[in-house]
């Protein structure tokens, strides 16, 4: 049997539906199966990375061949960008699932938790693989509906309220996206991304097309929590169980928000000055306002959630600078550098923000509270958590041996060389504020006077939680290696190539 991207969707879906059937009768089945599935996905991903990489691997669902170069089947497209984001998803999913084995014991209904987790993974993989705009919508809904349920998993007051808010805003975003899909279909009479791309490259910018683009920016911007649309994110991400927070903040907003924006605006639409300017401005706003909002937070996970908005701003400005340069036909190497910085920051953010949320979960697991005012002196009781948090804090605030430094450096260099001095200055400024914010976090949680000794609930963490945290901090260091050309060629460059050569996506797919 040859390699097929369809397995990325089939396997987690199978898991999601096996768990309620067999897990009902066999105890402990759900944990083992979820960990095995996510592990399989990671291994499969790496295998795929090594073997099938020159051309985009395409699966035509149902085996319908194209007629007169017009695609009929639903395409599953596995190219550099998809591979890169799939790796992020599967890695974080595996570590979160492994962490959850120890963490989730305090909740009932474990079956539902793991089934929903598998469903969410399947949905995100589907979004990333789909080569068909309506299927992007369908898989996106699968992922976000599972995440609505997971945010409300604790069924306490705060979780329910956060979930309701998240559902209303996320639902409006979904409706806007559906509207945009309908408008696109109306203009092009096709749903296949490559086909749409070919038709749009020939045509002119009509008002309806601009309206579609606005709808898509608002819809996916809501999903990615860019700053004017961010209201749901701090609530939802701080109320979910910690492994899910890691998934939501680390992967979901990237897979369903940023990835879709990148794919649509680089490969499908013609890049225009207005769109790239709007995206860059939204990114810069997210970067600055997110970190300013994070300063005043005393709830640990809320602080991290606001930093998510800010760090996503870095990703977006990296990509936005690339878009601006491509649009004005500037130096392609600088564009590639900026996009590489953005994408690199994406995987870095997934790792260190995931790790920080897992740490927050560990603190909550032991101390029973998330309020920084009531914590302090935890370093003595939780050596693993405190050292991993230190690593993650250094990574997020851009201190050299860790990965965050290199990606931010790439973005700033690209901004300077592309003559966007204001953006570079803002990025540096935000980095310092982030550093201050995380110094506060480390101090109040781990090194301040000892307030929490009497309140500790348990004295040791489960092995699985420690394992995930340590693995993540090691990966945080290892990811810096991606700056070395050899590793960059394997992982980062194919993804960047897909975005820089904007029309290649369509030309490669349309002949198949």
């Amino acid at each position: 049997m040859e390699l097929t991207p369809a397995l990325y969707i089939i396997v987690p879906l199978l898991g999601a539906f096996l768990i309620p059937v067999i897990g009902h009768f066999v105890k402990g089945f759900q944990k083992v199966l979820t960990v095995l599935i996510t592990l399989f996905l990671v291994v499969y991903n790496i295998w795929f990375f090594v073997t099938g990489f020159d051309a985009p691997v395409v699966t035509k669902v149902g085996g319908w061949e194209a007629v007169n170069d017009v695609p009929i089947a639903i395409y599953l497209v596995y190219d550099g960008l998809s591979a890169f984001i799939l790796l992020t998803i599967c890695l974080i999913a595996f570590l979160s699932a492994f962490y959850a084995v120890g963490y989730i014991k305090r909740f009932t209904a474990e079956n539902n938790f793991y089934a929903l987790l598998c469903l969410m993974i399947a949905g995100m993989n589907g979004v990333v693989l789909s080569g068909d705009i309506f299927n992007i919508y369908v898989f996106l809904e699968i992922a976000v509906i599972a995440s609505y349920a997971l945010v409300a998993f604790g069924t306490e007051k705060q979780e329910l309220e956060a979930s309701f808010k998240y559902q209303v805003l996320g639902g409006i975003a979904s409706i806007l996206i559906l509207f945009a899909v309908a408008l696109l279909y109306w203009q092009t009479q096709t749903l296949n991304l490559a086909d749409i791309s070919v038709i749009l490259q020939e045509g002119t910018q009509t008002t309806a097309l601009i309206f579609t683009e606005v709808l898509l920016i608002v819809g996916f911007g809501l999903k990615a929590a860019m700053i004017p649309f961010h209201a749901w994110l701090p609530d939802a991400h701080s109320s979910a169980p910690s492994p899910i927070s890691a998934m939501l903040s680390g992967v979901l907003i990237k897979a369903v928000g940023i990835y879709a924006l990148l794919r649509l605006f680089f490969n499908i639409f013609v890049i225009t000055y207005e769109v790239s300017l709007v995206i860059t401005i939204l990114g810069a706003l997210s970067m600055v306002v997110g970190v300013l909002l994070a300063i005043g937070q005393w709830d640990l996970k809320r602080l991290l959630a606001y930093h998510s908005i800010s760090q996503m701003g870095y990703v977006i400005i990296g990509v936005g600078i690339g878009m601006l340069i491509i649009q004005r036909d500037g130096n392609m190497t600088i564009a590639a550098l900026a996009i590489a910085g953005g994408l690199f920051h994406m995987i870095n953010h997934a790792l260190f923000k995931g790790l920080l949320f897992l740490d927050a979960g560990a603190i909550e697991f032991m101390a029973g509270t998330r309020n920084l005012r009531n914590l302090g002196g935890l370093a003595r009781y939780m050596p693993v958590t405190s050292s991993t948090s230190l690593g993650a804090s250094m990574a997020i605030s851009g201190i050299p041996p860790f990965n965050g430094f290199f990606s931010k450096l790439l973005i700033i260099i690209a901004a300077v060389r592309g003559e966007f001095y204001l953006l570079a200055a803002l990025a540096v400024f935000v980095n310092f504020v982030t550093l201050g914010s995380f110094m506060k976090f480390m101090r109040y949680a781990f090194y301040n006077s000892d307030k929490s000794k009497a309140k500790l609930k348990t004295d040791r963490l489960p092995f699985t939680m420690k394992f995930s945290m340590i693995t993540m901090v090691i990966l945080c260091v290892l990811m810096s290696l991606m700056i070395i050309p050899y590793f960059r060629e394997i992982m980062l460059t194919p993804a960047v190539d897909v975005l820089v050569n904007t029309s290649e996506y369509a030309t490669k797919l349309i002949g198949l």
Binding site: M1, L14, F17, P20, V21, H24, K60, G62, G63, A115
Partner: protein, 145 residues
Amino acid sequence: MNGMSLIVKKVTQLMSGLIFMYGLYIITHGHLTPGGGFAGGAIVAGAFILLILAFGSKVISLRTEKSQTSITESLALLIVIILAGAGLFFGSYVFFNNYLPEGEVGELISAGVIPLYNIFVGMEVSAALLTIFLGLVIYKEEVAS
């Protein structure tokens, strides 16, 4: 939740089986006439919901029913995925392949695997709608008590 009046109960007894049969008709003729798994499944779920609404929760124990329906739902989806994934192993090795003989257009047993998809999608939709209904009813009873 108490049942409804005598008239509704008797009419339900008369009609529920027929509604169920009609849903199955829509499902099994999905590849010949408009309709199919989703529409038929909704009708089948309607038959059960009518029964529960008319007779109240005393006749049917909601919680066991709910766990059964959610297991049925997962099972049906599992079968759909296995049917779809089986295409990877038969014939031309593609996902969602129609690998069974297709027969003659207009016959009841034709069109390869599509009737099978219809049947299991119908099963899944009916079980899912019933699960949603039962879940909301159970919440309501919890809130009321």
